[in-house]
């Protein structure tokens, strides 16, 4: 890869103590994101996507135990003092959350929230900060931005609120934006608009983005690389076109099969992945997907497959019986 690596997550695990034992939310994950690139992280609910993003931001719950290294822009975030970490976060990192209902402060006006963030980080005076806020709101596609400044979050629709949240996240010109299921709580018609907005701003500002979602359709046209997570582990990782052309991991295939297809006949039953993800407090001996995998054999239940390379260095997967052909008849 030619571009500079901005973020590298090296061998990161997150353990959460629960009354039933330690829960391994993230299990030895390695990922890299280049400056200005987009990484999609895909997986079903509870597979550790959000915990991974919190680990990158160093905003894990207090009791969580984090091991490994998170290198951002040449600095190990785990070694930084709280004060330097705080400064770095404000300048270089930003997040957009799933639910715009809770990600904005309900009792402060949009203007207050934007202007104060700008003043805090860019040390602008009130008038300049206000002008910048209006520009930002206009940039994220909010009409009549000046009138919005005096409104409260509950006076805006969900899509508008998410735009405001994106404007706040973009306000400090971050190098890396983490979008944690930014469209899950929104109407389908708004989803595409928000995703396009994120992609447009990402290109324009040349920032890196991690797009976390459970929807393979979302990452398809909008990311450079995709990592598929299952039960806290990355099970397949590839440049987006390569992944969709030739996926190797049965779980990725199952996820894709679970997407509704526009060309399917009406009333075609949607294939679901049967069973549930394994209990994260009781790790399985073998491949964590093996109980639900239709290709699984005895070895899959006994041994954990490691991430191995496929045709290229960029395409990695963790499976003993990778799918050989697209839409595969398995091994």
């Amino acid at each position: 890869m030619t571009e500079r690596t901005l973020l590298s997550v090296e061998d990161v695990s997150v353990e959460l103590p629960t009354p039933r034992g330690n829960l391994r939310a993230v299990d030895r994950v390695d990922l890299t994101v280049g400056a200005g690139r987009t990484l999609g992280v895909v997986g079903e609910s509870g597979c550790g996507k959000t915990m991974l993003s919190r680990a990158i931001l160093q905003l894990l719950p207090k009791k969580a135990k984090l091991s490994g290294r998170v290198m951002f822009d040449g600095q190990d975030l785990l070694q930084l003092s709280p004060e330097r970490l705080r400064r770095l976060r404000g300048r270089s990192l930003a997040v957009v959350f799933q639910d715009p209902m809770t990600s904005l402060n309900p009792v402060l006006t949009i203007g207050t929230q934007l202007i104060e963030t700008l003043q805090e980080h860019l040390e602008l005076d009130e008038a300049t900060a206000k002008k910048r806020s209006v520009e930002l709101l206009a940039a994220v596609g909010i009409p009549a931005p000046e009138q919005r400044l005096v409104q409260y979050p509950h006076q805006l629709s969900g899509g508008m609120r998410q735009r405001v949240a994106i404007a706040i996240a973009l306000s400090c010109e971050p190098k890396l934006l983490i979008a944690d299921e930014p469209t899950t709580a929104l109407d389908v018609t708004i989803q595409a608009q928000i995703l396009d907005l994120l992609a447009r701003e990402q290109r324009r500002r040349h920032m890196a983005m991690i797009l976390i979602t459970h929807d393979l359709g979302v990452v398809a046209g909008r990311t450079d690389e995709v990592a598929v997570m299952y039960a806290g582990r990355v099970v397949e990782r590839a440049p987006t076109p390569a992944l969709f052309k030739k996926m190797r991991m049965p779980y990725t295939e199952a996820l894709l099969a679970a997407l509704p297809r526009i060309d399917a006949a009406p009333h075609t039953p949607l294939p679901a992945i049967s069973g549930r993800p394994p209990d994260p407090t009781r790790p399985l001996q073998g491949c964590s997907f093996s109980p639900r995998c239709r290709y699984a054999v005895a070895r899959c239940h006994a041994e954990k497959p490691a991430l191995t390379e496929a045709e290229s260095r960029e395409h990695q997967f963790a499976c003993f019986h990778p799918i050989e052909i697209h839409a595969g008849a398995g091994a």
Binding site: R86, G90, V95, M101, P106, T117, I168
Partner: protein, 290 residues
């Protein structure tokens, strides 16, 4: 285009019109009584009232007259003027003591709810100890050592209110601190102080304010009880509680001497409760919906 959904609604500019919310006649009557009481108490020295401490032994327990609108008490002092000067004490203690509880309890509760961990356990534990201590005994012990004065009375009552305010603030902070806007603020590099003051305080302030008004009502009653028992303000200063206490002695001859201050206290406490409840009802569902 990405702006399809966004039509500018016409009413945007003329938005801040929340006055339409129905508060009810009772609420405004209560507000009216509160303002009247507070105004009269503040302007007592400039009102054309006889002195509340001048005794007229020839006119003891005099009935209502043009000279003494509400008659005189057992020592021939003007009852109306004593009621109004008593309101000063009751209201000053009733308003100042909860302010102490609000600041100390509110700050402790927010810190405990935000930082959690050992600090929270220590705060909650010490508040439980304070709650378990019988308040009347504490008040008696403190006045016995430090003497009876308005300041001491206010301090004791304020101190006793700290645990309740701490609980309200902590409960509100606990739920709010998990909201994503707090994590978003942290991710944007906000300091703890900033998150507490700018993000959390405006949210916690609403339930705390509503609780404050209820605490004022309770404090007025408790002050009355202490004064009735002779542990409140020292004579000859009057407070509603001590007036009820003095009126008790002549209950058969002149029951109004006990009932007038009791009625004043009843109406004032009721007003504070009504306003506090209405405000709480206004803020609660909104908190839930957002």
């Amino acid at each position: 285009m990405a702006t399809l959904e966004l039509t500018i609604d016409e009413g945007v500019a003329a938005e801040p019109a929340k006055r339409g919310r129905r508060l009810g006649l009772l609420f405004w009557v209560a507000i009216g009584w509160m303002t009247f009481m507070i105004a009269v108490a503040i302007f007592a020295p400039v009102l054309p009232l006889p002195s509340p401490t001048d005794m007229d032994m020839l006119e003891r327990r005099a009935p209502f007259s043009a000279e003494h609108w509400l008659g005189t008490d057992g020592l021939g002092r003007d009852e109306l003027s004593r009621l109004i000067y008593g309101a000063r004490i009751s209201l000053v203690v009733g308003l100042c003591a909860p302010v102490i509880g609000l600041t100390i309890g509110g700050a402790l509760g927010m810190l405990a709810g935000y930082f959690r961990g050992r600090f929270e356990s220590a705060v909650v534990g010490s508040m439980d100890v304070l709650l378990a201590f019988p308040p009347l005994i504490l008040a008696m012990a403190v006045t016995a050592y430090l003497g009876q004065s308005i300041l001491n009375l206010t301090l004791i009552l304020g101190f006793l209110g700290v645990p309740a305010f701490m609980r309200v603030a902590r409960a509100a902070t606990l739920t709010l601190a998990r909201r994503e806007f707090v994590i978003a603020a942290q991710a944007l590099g906000a300091t703890h102080a900033r998150i507490l003051l700018r993000e959390l305080l405006p949210n916690v302030a609403l339930p705390l304010l509503a609780f404050f008004l209820l605490a004022v009502a309770v404090t007025i009653v408790v002050e009355g009880a202490l004064s009735f028992l002779g542990l409140g303000v020292p004579p000859p200063i009057s407070s509603w509680g001590s007036m009820i206490g003095e009126g008790r002695e002549s209950l058969e001859v002149a029951p109004r001497l006990a009932f007038l201050p009791a009625a004043a206290m009843f109406l004032t406490v009721l007003s504070f409760n009504l306003v506090g409840d209405t405000l709480r009802a206004l803020t609660d569902p909104r908190q839930g919906a957002l």
